[in-house]
Symmetry: C2
Subunit: 651 residues, 2 copies
């Protein structure tokens, strides 16, 4: 690999000096503001035009917004415990957070991507990666609940994930931090040449969406930062940015910025799929969790998987190439036609655009510039389609409007730059407040973007909203891109730290949104489907309460015969069958969250009473005019008590 | 007590038949919509006029919104674990969730109230109650962080809380579910006459806000639903609604609705304060947690308190009276002058307004209508100021605009009704979508409301936003009340279930909002204040990592000599001193959340490595152009390894 010493000190300086600069919005409201007000206003009784699914970053979850209003409609718990509805606290959902490291109550969720058919959004599922303890989740867009989480072995810092191929054949998961594969006790400073970066291709069942790791490509020990699929003509390929091709293990902010160019890795996954379908690859022992939640029994099951199929990329000729790309490329974006691969060199002013056609020609013509660990490096000049002389600094991510324009965020210079595909000319630029990371156009990662709005997700908030002490939410900005130029029309705060987002027209999802769970189809093994089935059963020191709830009553509502030292399982079934009539359940002193139970659903809370007495429980969701009366009592007797197990059934 | 049989069946029917009725907003946008758009639009670069602090209900937290935009600026974790920033997961914050029941990771947060001086909002602190495992929290409005939580013993369903007196002398906490005091093993159906309802008066230190339970009044075993302080002429009194004066223990939705009238309890707390200051009351053994977080050492300490002073109200003549109030009153609201106490009989069509002056006269004239458990019942007719013939059904809560108008929510008929204090005439009514619970006018619970907006907090959402499966966020609606009539101008979703909210002009809080923690003032015992202090120390199988972080580096960033079976404490200090430059810390496979660490702050994460290997950690908050390089590795060796403890300091 060629190395060119490159001083990053000036750039580092610039990182520190972002400016809380001039803010043209601070004039008083004129005709323009009024126009913008109307553009983002969704009047009472009307609805938003687009869903925006924003990753929660360090919240570990996925949040659902409406555009253009910027209102947050739901936080979907994915990788993090969520006390609000009991996710990760109820017996049914705890298995969702199981991993090879045990129960992990948090993650750093990064890049959501909506399922596609023929390269267009189909709105069936949305995928998102857990960055820290490597996992990929699938969320069902009928129920807006996390349906599945699969752990990714041999991986660390699962960042270049979870993007999908154009028929949702695969969702990919790529290592950011290379590690020993398999893991072993070795000196950290022997990293170079010894660590590996696994790129995992996880198949998605076309019927039910179930995920399975089809193969892992064991790449050189670089950092794999982001990725995007080929589409159209480049369908069958996947592109990953790399940085730290220096393979430094310490002081990366200096040592990983030495090479003038890192790479975009071009993976011909169809070729590797064919290779493994023909028996290629090596199965190695592994240990990773596969957690599936079923709407039928309202319960998650975690299974540990014990091996994974690995592929040495040098064993599959023609499958993997490196495209030299300047300045530690971060984002790796593919235009709607699949012709161009844009590398956003984060320490650069310019964008590097590679041509898929030229790449194929260079491969065909063997125009190589050496190799890295046996993987051919294509000649930079032979794959380059063009360079966007942006005038900005610190490009990170690019999206597309489907009208031939691309939009790139610049973190250091705090702006979104709009430019033309093919001519590479800059046609507009607008400031962001402040230090933008990702951006999103609905459908922007597909063949068919809906180029009406772009959302900029900013990393610095400062004075954009009323202050809330030292800790602030991040800030998003909404631009109208329906005209020739971008127009900033709204600021709205976002929860956690959105890293990418996926937008989709509401009409593709809203009509299919599920309203209730049918009680008649509830297959929970401990459901109480009729009030007459309500009962309390003792099994040693385990007590199972089979409880029903309906406005405004628990059956049973008085229970006696519980003892200190018991482990009490409340299995509670919500008998409502109307939309938007959840009930909650809380027990005083439980070392647990509440349960929020949707119509037709069964959930279980464990309570270990520690003190003798008469203790109340109640409904936590104001459900009717008599909600305050929806309560009950449990009598807890001493461990050695002879109080009979009894309960009230409304007599 | 008089009992009048009262059929609630018709009302119960009505509860079920709320209508997803006509929605006048569904017409296309005209001039009026444009006008409303401008009213709620806060242009980029501008800021909202009011803070709205909304209780999170079953989220257990407190959310901060701006008005009129309806944007959520922060979720402040209070009673619930919050994986987003590590609250309840970090070593420093775990003690905040300690209780006499052990660690309780969730609660049901209900009624926020902002501190007052002379009956006006002073914006120093905001208090909120945990309903389930009875607690009161104090949040510091300089840092927007939870500063203190005190558990409330002898209490259950801590609902008629956490309202404050007009100089923040006390915050009150009232039992909703009466229980045996002290707790004991007894049959539930012996409730009547044996259970008690504790009303706790918690003193607030005028300098630092620290709370202490001054006394608990052991009232009859009714359900104490809501409360509000007297003010102005009625300062020194506190008013609590009761229901279930029937003292039913089962099927409350029927059995607690038998009495035609329940009571508002009028408590002369100044008289009781004098009584206990003179040695009155009885100290009884108790066990409750008092948790205080210090900004100096960034650490919470939990102390168990062992006794509490109780007061038998019958022993303090002239201190407690019952005001008969029809139909299971829910809300209990006092107008800005302190002259009127409004009881919202939730199974009624009318509002009952009591006169403070007439109450004093009735007490003076001994116009009693019997007693309940030794507490005098005042004659209804002698304390009644008037009745508001609302025409609505199911009144819950009332707020005031300071212009002589009151606004009452009606759950069953889904509307807000505006009426005149003194004449009791209805002057306007507007529908809510749907089934409104609480409402809020900034300063509405003070002498000086800011009557520009009213926010209705609705319990049912249904079709107000794009659907998100069976589980929906609740919905708030914003009305402009600056004119003669109410005008619905916006819908916005709210997180969890807001039960009440507290609004305040931004100018009373924003200028004092803290931006950073000063590193020089950091008193955390394990802080790493200089990079040269960074180190790793072993103490048996405990390992303490003293780590510093600054853009874009951890010191140390490579650590060796950790073994399987160790318990590793990462004590991490953020060396930034600029506003809005937090860093995060995540360790792969940790059975814990991340840490989100503000400038100048120290936080600690515990990690118990389970597997041999080389494992990465990284910064979870995109902090600079070289954020992706802000990472490190820990080498984990077998338990019996001899690998030396070493770490890198940037050499």
């Amino acid at each position: 690999m060629r190395k060119i010493k490159y001083s990053i000190l000036s750039l580092l300086g610039l990182v520190m000096v972002f400016t809380s600069c001039n803010d043209s919005g601070k004039k008083s409201r004129g005709a323009l503001a009024s126009n913008n007000a109307e553009k983002v206003y969704v009047a009472p009784g009307e609805q938003d035009e687009f869903y925006a699914f924003m990753s929660g970053g360090y919240s570990g979850n996925l949040t659902v917004y409406g555009l253009p209003s910027g209102r947050m409609f739901k936080e979907i718990p994915v990788f993090s415990q969520f006390a609000t509805n009991g996710y990760g606290y109820s017996e049914e959902t705890k298995p969702m957070l199981n991993t090879s490291f045990g129960f992990v109550p948090w993650d750093d969720s990064h890049h959501p991507d909506i399922s596609q058919t023929n390269g267009e959004l189909d709105g069936r599922w949305i995928f998102i990666n857990g960055n820290n303890t490597p996992r990929i989740a699938r969320i069902d867009l009928k129920t807006f609940e996390t349906a599945e989480i699969i752990e990714v072995p041999n991986s660390a810092g699962n960042h270049s994930s979870s993007f999908i191929t154009e028929n949702t054949e695969y969702v990919v998961a790529g290592t950011r931090f290379s590690v020993p594969v398999p893991q072993r006790d070795m000196p950290i400073n022997e990293y170079k040449g010894n660590f590996k970066g696994a790129l995992s291709f996880i198949s998605v069942d076309p019927e039910d969406g179930e995920m399975d790791i089809k193969f892992q490509i064991l790449m050189p020990g670089f950092n794999y930062d982001l990725s995007h699929p080929g589409r159209g003509k480049s369908h069958g390929w996947f592109f990953f940015t790399t940085y730290n091709t220096e393979e430094a293990n310490s002081l990366l902010e200096v040592n990983a910025s030495q090479n003038d160019k890192d790479f975009i890795a071009a993976i011909n996954w169809k070729k590797i799929e064919e290779y493994v379908n023909n028996g290629g690859g090596t199965k190695i022992p592994a240990n990773y969790a596969h957690n599936i939640y079923s709407d039928e029994d309202h319960t998650a099951v975690s299974t540990m998987k014990k091996e994974v199929l690995t592929v040495d990329p040098t064993k599959v000729p023609g499958a993997v190439y490196f495209l030299p790309t300047p300045k530690s490329p971060h984002g790796c974006d593919v235009d709607p036609t699949g012709s161009y691969i844009i590398g956003n060199g984060k320490l650069s002013a310019d964008l590097t655009v590679h041509s898929f056609d030229k790449m194929l020609a260079a491969i065909e013509g063997k125009k190589f510039d050496g190799e890295a660990y046996g993987i051919p490096i294509l000649k930079f000049e032979d794959v380059l389609a063009g360079t966007v002389k942006s005038g900005g600094l610190g490009p990170l991510h690019t999206e597309f409007d489907g009208e031939g324009n691309a939009y790139t965020t610049f973190f250091i210079s705090s702006e979104v730059v709009m430019w033309k595909l093919g001519t590479w000319e800059v046609v507009d630029r607008k400031p962001t407040y402040y230090s933008v990371g990702h951006l999103m156009i609905p459908g922007g990662n597909s063949r068919k973007p809906f180029g009406k709005y772009v959302v900029a997700m900013n990393k610095i908030t400062k004075d954009r909203y009323l202050p809330t002490g030292p800790e602030l939410e991040h800030s998003a900005q909404l631009y109208d891109i329906s005209g020739d130029k971008m127009e900033l029309i709204y600021d709205f705060p976002t929860h956690g730290e959105p890293h990418y987002a996926a937008g989709i027209p509401a009409e593709l999802i809203a009509p299919k949104s599920q309203k209730i769970y049918k009680l008649a189809e509830n297959k929970h093994p401990r459901a109480t489907l009729g009030v007459n089935d309500a009962r309390v059963e003792r099994d040693g020191n385990e007590v199972h309460v089979y409880m029903a709830m309906i406005r405004s009553h628990f059956t049973p509502d008085n229970i006696e015969g519980i003892k200190v030292g018991d482990k009490v399982y409340f299995h509670i079934t919500n008998h409502e069958q109307d939309f938007d009539v959840p009930h909650g359940f809380a027990m005083i002193g439980a070392n647990n969250s509440e349960l929020l139970i949707m119509p037709g659903q069964t959930k279980t809370l464990v309570w270990e009473p520690k003190q003798v007495g008469v203790w109340p429980f109640y409904c936590t969701d104001f459900c009717s005019a008599l909600h305050q009366e929806m309560q009950g009592y449990v009598r807890v007797s001493p461990t050695n008590s002879n109080v009979d197990l009894t309960w009230s059934l409304g007599e």
